[in-house]
């Protein structure tokens, strides 16, 4: 048993204690957007409404987190196609399977932790094994809450990747979410999509980017380092590449929003370029996510670049302010730059 003293009592305030800025714990309703960043509100909710206008099979379902997954936008547009299931995640996904079996296309939302942990067997058996057309859309992916392990979905991708039939998507920004929603409607079969909600950053529109299910895309090329990333880490990787450029380090960024099935052709080609350090960057534990998926692919195919992984450590993450935690666990832009520079020495 862990003693209650695992966390030490605060030391008495010394006169010369360093003045640290006090950051408040990032509430789960907070946006991931940085100060002054361009954003778009509720891209998932609005995109789903657009799809539902022409596809009457679409229904929305949630487990007491409609407001916190932007599904309330759908609820307002289609109140009679919205099912509030209460805070019952197992029921949510079992019922989604049933609706899908009757020909509907349920979009079922909750937080990533509660889908991947509380309801895993329900998703595995009633949705994936039966190959039901359910879209599982989950907020607070990876480390995007300061509330501690209960709300930090450090292992959601590993769990979902391991399920046969499951398509797994980790979008970067509002632009990508808008395009991913119609794409997963068009795809028949179970999908797990990580969700950013509220005021969602807009990044990829500047890169002339379009989302294609199953496709990785080179957002910028670079001959010294290749950052391979998904989700919000692509935003960070692009920032890091710019910062490193100022230090005369040439960095490419390959965005891999579809974690499963992997775009093996694009990955193998990009990683085969000689003399380039490959770094996979993920908002996920280093166990079982994009990093190990890419490493496994490269080993199997005999492609052996210098290879590093940046991801969350194999430990229960702390509670606190998100900027502090992203620095501590090495996934802030500054931490990315520092690690890459360290490896280039």
């Amino acid at each position: 048993m862990k003693p209650a003293t695992a966390h030490p009592a605060p030391a008495a305030k010394g006169a010369d204690a360093p003045a640290k800025p006090r950051l408040t714990t990032s509430a789960m309703i907070a946006s991931i957007a940085g100060e002054g960043q361009r954003t778009k509100p509720a891209p998932f909710g609005h995109a789903l409404v657009e799809c539902a206008k022409t596809d009457p099979s679409i229904v929305g379902m949630t487990a007491d987190l409609g407001k916190y997954t932007d599904l309330h936008i759908f609820q307002q547009a289609f109140p009679d196609r919205y099912y509030q299931m209460g805070m019952a995640e197992q029921l949510l996904f079992g019922a989604a399977s049933g609706l899908a079996a009757e020909g509907f296309t349920p979009f079922a939302t909750t937080y990533a932790v509660f889908a991947s942990r509380r309801a895993y067997d329900f998703i595995h058996q009633t949705i994936a094994e039966e190959d039901r057309n359910v879209k599982i859309v989950c907020a607070l992916p990876g480390l995007t809450s300061g509330y501690g392990p209960s709300h930090q979905a450090a292992e959601d991708l590993a769990l979902m990747r391991a399920i046969p039939n499951m398509t797994v998507i980790d979008p970067c920004d509002a632009h990508e979410i808008e395009q991913a929603v119609p794409a997963i409607v068009a795809h028949k079969g179970p999908v797990y999509m990580r969700l950013l909600r509220g005021q969602v950053p807009l990044v990829l529109d500047e890169y002339g980017y379009t989302f294609e299910l199953g496709k990785a895309k080179m957002l910028r090329d670079g001959y010294e380092v290749l950052l391979i990333s998904s989700g919000i880490m692509t935003m960070r990787a692009l920032e890091a590449a710019k910062a490193l450029e100022a230090d005369r380090v040439d960095v490419g960024v390959l965005h891999v929003p579809t974690i499963k099935p992997l775009d093996t052709a694009t990955l193998l080609e990009a990683c085969a370029k000689p003399g380039r350090l490959v770094v996979v960057v993920e908002n996920h534990t280093v166990i079982g996510g994009l990093g190990e998926a890419v490493a496994g692919l490269l080993m199997r195919e005999g492609v052996h670049p210098a290879f590093r992984m940046i991801g969350l450590p194999d430990e229960f993450l702390a509670a606190g302010a998100l900027p502090t935690l992203h620095d501590r666990y090495g996934i802030s832009t500054d931490a990315l730059c520092a690690q890459v520079k360290g490896w280039l020495k």
Binding site: H7, A27, Q84, G86, A319, G320
Partner: protein
Amino acid sequence: MTISPSNVSLERRAWNIRRHAIRMGEVQGQGYIAQALDIADVLATAYFHAMRYEPQNPEWEGRDRFLLSNGHYAIALYAALIEAGIVPEDELETYGFDDSRLPMSGMASYTPGMEMSGGSLGLGLSIAVGKCLGLKRKGSDSRVYTLFSDGELDEGSVWEAIMSAAHYKLDNLIAIVDVNNQQADGPSTSMLGFEPLAEKLAAFNWFVQRVDGNDLGAVRAAFDAAKDANGGRPSMIIADTLMGKGIPFLEARDKNHFIRVDAHEWQLALAALDERKPA
């Protein structure tokens, strides 16, 4: 040794708990303050009337256990732990900040007196079943108090534990459910209907009492009856509460999972409380 009988009234204990909670809310500029205010009377009764514990030794084997299943109510439990002398009062200044022992969501490894890690709802009653079985197995007469929220009634796991506790005749379990009729998306009654709750739980072989959770006399009587008269059954206290209780402008505000409190209103809330200080 247990806490010595004190001449501080329960009314005053509840008032102090509300005050500590508001001060923590002000420190962080956020927090589940409306829930803390609604449950303060239950916590005051648990910690200053019903439970056996040693403030200086929160892991004392002979203590009654208290499980906070609804971990987002941590701000309320910290306030009670401060009032009980288990957590020093000046630590409330650290509430929710990096490396504090008082994180916004309750976790066992962080805080003395916090017996489980919450945050993910619907876990507490299962742990309680195991603790009650373990205490009986050890021949201990300690009880397990478990607080959970009306939203947690939606989780199937809660009903598994409810059946198990009756099956094993866990008369050392006293559960309290906070029926504040609020969940994340709206009023509990509009989420997943659980009424008639008392009848349901009685049919599940629990000793059930339903009280106004903000009437200290009624809450105290319910805790007493739960200890004495459950006849080989686990005990459930259904506490109907009012979010924001004790601060009139918060009682009147639109009900919400995160009740709005503007930056200047924390001081107004303290002032409103100070006007109502009991003896």
